[in-house]
Amino acid sequence: MADQNQKITEDNSSRKDIENHLVIDTDDVIELKQNYRNCYPVARLAQAFYTGDPASPPPELPEPGASHVPKLYAYAAGDFDRVIRGILGLADRDPRQLIGVIAPNNKVRGRYFDKLRTLDIPTDNPRPSIETFHGSHRPNIAFNEGGILVINAQACKGLEFDTAILVDIDKHNFKQDNPDAAKRLFYVMVARAKYKVFIFRDRSDPCRADAILPSDSDMLQRKEV
């Protein structure tokens, strides 16, 4: 199994590169063209950030069906606790789900991690397992038992969550002259989610990511906290 959107060499490998590398005939290749991880609304949003070359088209969208159009929330600084309550409420309503909180940097990661562990809200279930990766700290997480994992964007590749929450996207330090780099990062972050995506931005700060976010409300609904 090989992924032509992953890097084997410096650039993304073409299907031919992979065939040569693995020494297999073209006829023996079974090409998976469909998106098998993300449900339709998530896959559609991810596709908006796809930057692959035309020779390597994005995976076909899965069948429409699931609801939950991804949402972008703008929040004021004073509403941070409400954001945290929303995340904890989501975890409490279905404790089996794994939620990934994906932060732009260590400072934001730490802020969310600390608040998620300390804020008290009325719940039906015990507080979910809340973990984070930082430095060389890699806790043993039972990914199949649900909970919340707070991580940096750079650490999220390869992970899979039921719900991905991209927090404080205004704090990403994108270079203006390389929008494709920003798109690639958003593609990876959004595509971590199987079912739901929520995005948060601080209302008071300018947000460079605005330039690459789709404006179609069927793809990304904009809300105020």
């Binding site: 949402k71 279905d94 039906d124």
Partner: protein, 532 residues
């Protein structure tokens, strides 16, 4: 099941070009992917039922009619059925016809004609075209062209969570394919295409299965389950509960009940009950229509739009409640901060709670795994119906179909319902007996004698599930008891033989049963004990 290599599937008719009496079965020529879809759906059905996943086969000849080859299949029909993609494997499905009667079309050497099956058969028919659908429970065997094809299909079927291929008899019959008839296919003419109502029966199948799985909740669940399976049974006690009372009528034709007449003088409770009923079954109808139209958008969107459209038509006294419910449901598509308990405190009617669960849980297995002590029996049953319609029988995983006899029972009833709605004169014979919930089979405890099978089954359940509802009474004979200490141990000597009787705390047992969702193996074992 062992692999069977044989020369023919129809040993009775081999060597005889024309049957001398009504055939007991016919052969459907298709490909393995269409077969798997039909096994998942529980119905042999026309291309329109495949939701865009249909690969050309003989079912496409006259949509709405199922061509069944009597004796040898036609080579061109086999070739056609695998012509759309290289990876398709040809399949011949033997379908039993001994219980069927009604008007069909038949192809003989002198052409195509309509006749009444089986009594007007001449014996020379090569193909019979039966109005769709037919129950997959009538499949007597599935024939593969080669051992390799069979292996591939069996492996493919395991990749799906809802294809019960292993439940059917499979054979490798090379000559069925190599010695196929050279007669041309498709015929030059046939009956007019028919539109077959499939979404309502598939929804009904989902309802039957889900009500069976929730029937152990209580007596209401047992009766609702009976109404779902045996909607024509006049002996079943009626249900006067809002939401459930139209179930029996809906299971017959899929028609939504007429709204009760209400006016400004109607008291609030009556108004609430009548409105809930109308809202609930109106939603069921909307979901079925949405599925029939190709499922654009999502079921949750259908519910939200339905409430939005219905709100202005409601009595003014109910509008605030329904508007609040819609707000809650919209909030659940985002990051609502309410817990499930807070949501159920806010919304107390069965309709509102079922609708809330619809947003909290994705599918039927997800609902079965959910627990909340605030939910009442009627809330669960309303949710079971709603989820059964959303998923339909087609999407149910095997673990929800594996109750012994359930698949055959549902498949036959779905096919009967489809013919009833379509108004055909096809008779499919008596449906298999309905599957009775364990709570009904176990009874209310009044017949639990020490050696009764009901008590034995209940004890077995309590033991295997480790339910805390068993206590033991030890009766000792009259006389004096002696404590004997010997060496490092002690024992008590009593006269006669003690009688040890395990007892079940019935209310606690029923409570455990209501909350449990048993694995198919355990349930099958207990059902067998109750039958024996």
């Amino acid at each position: 099941m062992t692999s069977t290599e044989q020369d023919t599937l129809f040993s009775k008719t081999e060597g005889s070009p024309t049957p001398t009496k009504a055939p007991e079965s016919g052969l459907l020529v298709t490909n393995h992917l269409n077969l798997m879809y039909m096994l998942a759906a529980g119905l042999v059905m026309p291309p329109a039922g495949f939701g865009g996943k249909y690969y050309q086969d003989t079912l496409g000849f006259c949509p709405g009619w199922i061509p069944l080859f009597i004796g040898k299949p036609f080579r061109e029909a086999i070739e056609l059925s695998t012509s759309e993609a290289k990876h398709l494997k040809p399949i011949c499905v033997e379908i039993g016809l001994s219980c069927m009667s009604g008007h069909v079309w038949a192809l003989a050497e002198d052409g195509m004609k309509e006749l009444r099956f089986p009594d007007q058969l001449a014996g020379s028919e090569q193909v019979v075209l039966v109005p769709a659908p037919l129950p997959t429970s009538w499949i007597e065997s599935i024939a593969f062209q080669s051992v390799e094809n069979r292996r591939i299909c069996e492996a493919d079927a395991k990749d799906y969570g809802n294809v019960p291929l292993s439940h059917f008899k499979r054979k490798t019959v090379k000559t069925l394919f190599s010695k196929a008839s050279a007669a041309p296919w498709p015929p030059e003419q046939g009956p007019a295409a028919r539109t077959v109502p499939l979404q309502t029966p598939l929804a009904a199948g989902g309802i039957m299965a889900m009500l069976l799985h929730f029937a152990n909740q209580g007596n209401l669940g047992v009766i609702a389950c009976r109404h779902a399976f045996d909607s024509e049974d006049d002996q079943a006690p009626p249900v006067e509960t809002p939401v459930l009372s139209p179930l029996r009528a809906w299971m017959q034709t899929g028609a939504v009940p007429m709204p009760r007449s209400l006016d400004a003088k109607t008291d609030r409770a009556s108004l609430q009950n009548a409105s809930q009923e109308q809202l609930f079954w109106g939603l069921i109808e909307r979901l079925v229509n949405w599925k029939g139209a190709g499922e654009k958008g999502s079921a949750e969107d259908v519910l939200l739009n339905y409430l939005k459209e219905t709100l202005p038509k409601l009595d003014a006294r109910l509008q605030a409640g329904i508007s609040g419910l819609r707000d809650t449901l919209v909030s659940l598509t985002g990051l609502a901060d309410a817990s499930n308990s807070e949501l159920f405190e806010r919304h107390v009617t069965p309709f509102a709670r079922a609708a809330t669960l619809f947003f909290l849980r994705r599918d039927c297995p997800d609902l079965l795994d959910f627990h909340n002590d605030q939910l009442h029996e009627l809330d669960w049953l309303a949710a079971a119906i709603l989820f059964g319609v959303r998923d339909g029988w087609l999407k149910l995983p095997l673990r929800l179909r594996d109750t012994p006899g359930l698949s055959a029972s549902v498949s036959h009833r779905m096919a009967r319902m489809a013919h009833r709605i379509a108004g055909t004169d096809i008779e499919l014979g008596e449906s298999p007996a309905r599957i009775r919930p364990l709570r009904e089979l176990l009874g209310d405890g009044s017949n639990w004698h020490p050696r009764s099978r009901e008590k034995g089954a209940a004890l077995e359940l309590a033991r295997t599930q480790q339910w805390d509802c068993v206590h033991t009474r030890i009766s000792l004979g009259r006389g004096s008891y002696a404590l004997v200490v010997e060496g490092g141990s002690a024992h008590i000597e009593v006269p006669g033989e003690p009688r040890i009787v395990p007892e079940i705390d019935l209310p606690r047992f029923l409570d455990c049963l209501a909350k449990a969702h048993l694995d198919p193996k355990t349930e099958a074992k207990v059902r067998k004990m109750l039958q024996d």
